[in-house]
Symmetry: C2
Subunit: 206 residues, 2 copies
Amino acid sequence: MAGGGAAASTLSSPWRLLLQRALDANAHLKHSTFFQLATVGGGGRPANRTVVFRGFQEHSDKIQINTDARSNKVIGEIKEWPLGEICWYFTDSWEQFRISGIIDVIDGSSPDPAKLQQREKAWFASSVKSRLQYLGPSPGVPVANDDHVKDVHIDPSAGPVEAYCLLTLDPEKVDYMNLKSNQRLMFTRTQEGDESGDWMAKKVSP
Amino acid sequence: MAGGGAAASTLSSPWRLLLQRALDANAHLKHSTFFQLATVGGGGRPANRTVVFRGFQEHSDKIQINTDARSNKVIGEIKEWPLGEICWYFTDSWEQFRISGIIDVIDGSSPDPAKLQQREKAWFASSVKSRLQYLGPSPGVPVANDDHVKDVHIDPSAGPVEAYCLLTLDPEKVDYMNLKSNQRLMFTRTQEGDESGDWMAKKVSP
């Protein structure tokens, strides 16, 4: 899930090496691939939730996250205001990555065939068990009782269901802090919209 | 630091009991008192960083956080737009608390004597070692070399230095999720600005 293999072969950006090292150093912790994603919702309200890192999109620095398209409010708000900041704290190595960038919402209604292909790829990269959640009750809806649909089945070869939505965050700035060595590095992308991405690194006080 | 004792004696709000249980269940992990705080900065950009829970303010549900007033940009942005959302994930018990509310920035320039007193109290509640960081170089400033001021001394009985700033977040909504039991509860404060706070709880699908 951490996209370790792919990351190692396409380490174009300087912060990717630090992130890969952190992932490796914390790999024994299940939660090492969890991070917090902040976005801005209606009325300028900050929203913050824990999500799972689903690896990088192939040949790019875009960070992949799975989400449920039925949380219409959230998806609508991100489409409306696609800025996000990831805060990823590695509890064992005491490293923090703050990654800010633009979020692309890729649901089944995307008109771009390449994006639909990415969504399909990400769907099949998820475990069958994790795909099942998109067939359960809509997230956030009031529950009358505990009679959840427990006998849901899914065909492992079937493509993404409607509720499945892929988010990709395209990093523009990465603020790296190592609390053990007390070192902080600020990475800024110098060329907008450039897939290969030129990055500038600056050492700043922690 | 977790304010466990104070919390146990003033459990006015229903979500406080769940939070206290999570703190107790995860107390063996140093990082259990760390959470991510999202705010909205200039140009509507979400900002997200790891901070340390410094307990609740006495006789209230306000969550205390220490910060450096010299990160002028951050402090100014929060004063300008005081909405925040905490995302607190407990890695051992698989519980997530999303706590949204209004942030009060209490630096040395506060005209309110009661707030200045809270700031002083929070200062003395911090370890002498953690107070030292407010005498170091300003956070986020580019570093020319590694010759940091290493021989900084502080008088343990001296009050808060100028750089020390207390933030308090006054919760309005708490979204609780237990990923082991798959239970989700939504707490909403029904009376605005009421210190004692009436809360409504609703069970929702996860």
